[in-house]
């Protein structure tokens, strides 16, 4: 499928102040493309959750946005530390977030399940010591 748009955003580990800026840009970009409000909200929520996860949990990574005529795809790829038990991480309420994240109102163990709920397709691959890749797509029709 022909890619209409591709944009990558580096996300820095521990950058709590700027966390969410990539998601804001992505939301505004998609809005300009005329994507429906419903799809846009699903993409925005999942995007913000995954960006926060990169800031809170990873050693840094990249968020990539791809748009083709049928779907929006978000790819989050980090450089570690990797998730030892994905099943556990996907359980609502399970969280390894630090105090700083919790002070900001996050780290309730809702992120990954909420991404899965909002995306049409959700895939997660992780290897300890290597990194985690999350691929989410959102159907436009």
């Amino acid at each position: 499928m022909a890619v209409l748009l591709e944009k990558s955003f580096p996300v820095e580990a521990g950058a709590y102040t700027t966390a969410g800026e990539a998601s804001t840009t992505i939301k505004r970009t998609l809005k300009q493309l005329g994507i429906s409000a419903d799809v846009l909200r699903h993409v925005s929520v999942a995007c913000y959750e995954v960006e926060l996860n990169l800031v809170i949990h990873s050693l840094g990574g990249t968020l990539t946005l791809l748009v083709d005529p049928e779907k929006v795809t978000l790819i989050s790829k980090d450089v570690g530390p990797g998730i030892p038990d994905i099943e556990k991480a996907m359980t609502e309420g399970f969280s390894t977030a630090n105090e700083e994240a919790r002070t900001l109102g996050f780290g309730a163990g809702m992120g990954l399940p909420n991404m899965k709920r909002n995306a049409t397709n959700f895939e997660i691959q992780s290897e300890v010591g290597v990194g985690t890749t999350i691929t989410m797509s959102f159907a436009l029709a």
Partner: protein, 120 residues
């Protein structure tokens, strides 16, 4: 219910978005936990919270929340207010606690968000 009615019910003061008081809201959510807000909220919602930081506004932007009520008379910083105004979110400061503000809105007919985002 309109944001103007919300403002009166919570005895609030509008900090930004005076020109958007006639916007309609259908539901409300009271929480200091943005993780839960992200999991439960739909559009045309009022968020009542005692948490003050820029992520409250970012979370609201992602969800198309149209109005934030900061409870217990808390005053957000200029930075937070500017962010909200730029996005088009009305910000109200209420002297009520979160519990009381939610209770007042509920008895005046504003329901809570009932379920998680679609696709549950």
């Amino acid at each position: 219910m309109t944001i103007r009615e919300v403002m009166k019910i919570v005895d609030g003061k509008v900090l930004v978005g005076e020109d958007r008081l006639d916007t309609r809201v259908d539901t409300a959510c009271g929480s200091d936990l943005m993780s839960d807000v992200l999991a439960f909220v739909k559009d045309k919602t009022v968020l009542i919270t005692g948490l003050i930081n820029p992520h409250v506004v970012r979370t609201s932007e992602m969800l198309d929340i149209t109005c934030i009520v900061f409870s217990r008379g808390k005053m957000p910083s200029e930075e937070i207010l500017e962010m909200a105004d730029e996005i088009g979110i009305t910000v109200i400061s209420s002297p009520m606690t979160t519990y009381t503000a939610c209770g007042e809105l509920y008895v005046h007919g504003l329901p809570g968000t009932k379920k998680k985002a679609e696709g549950v």
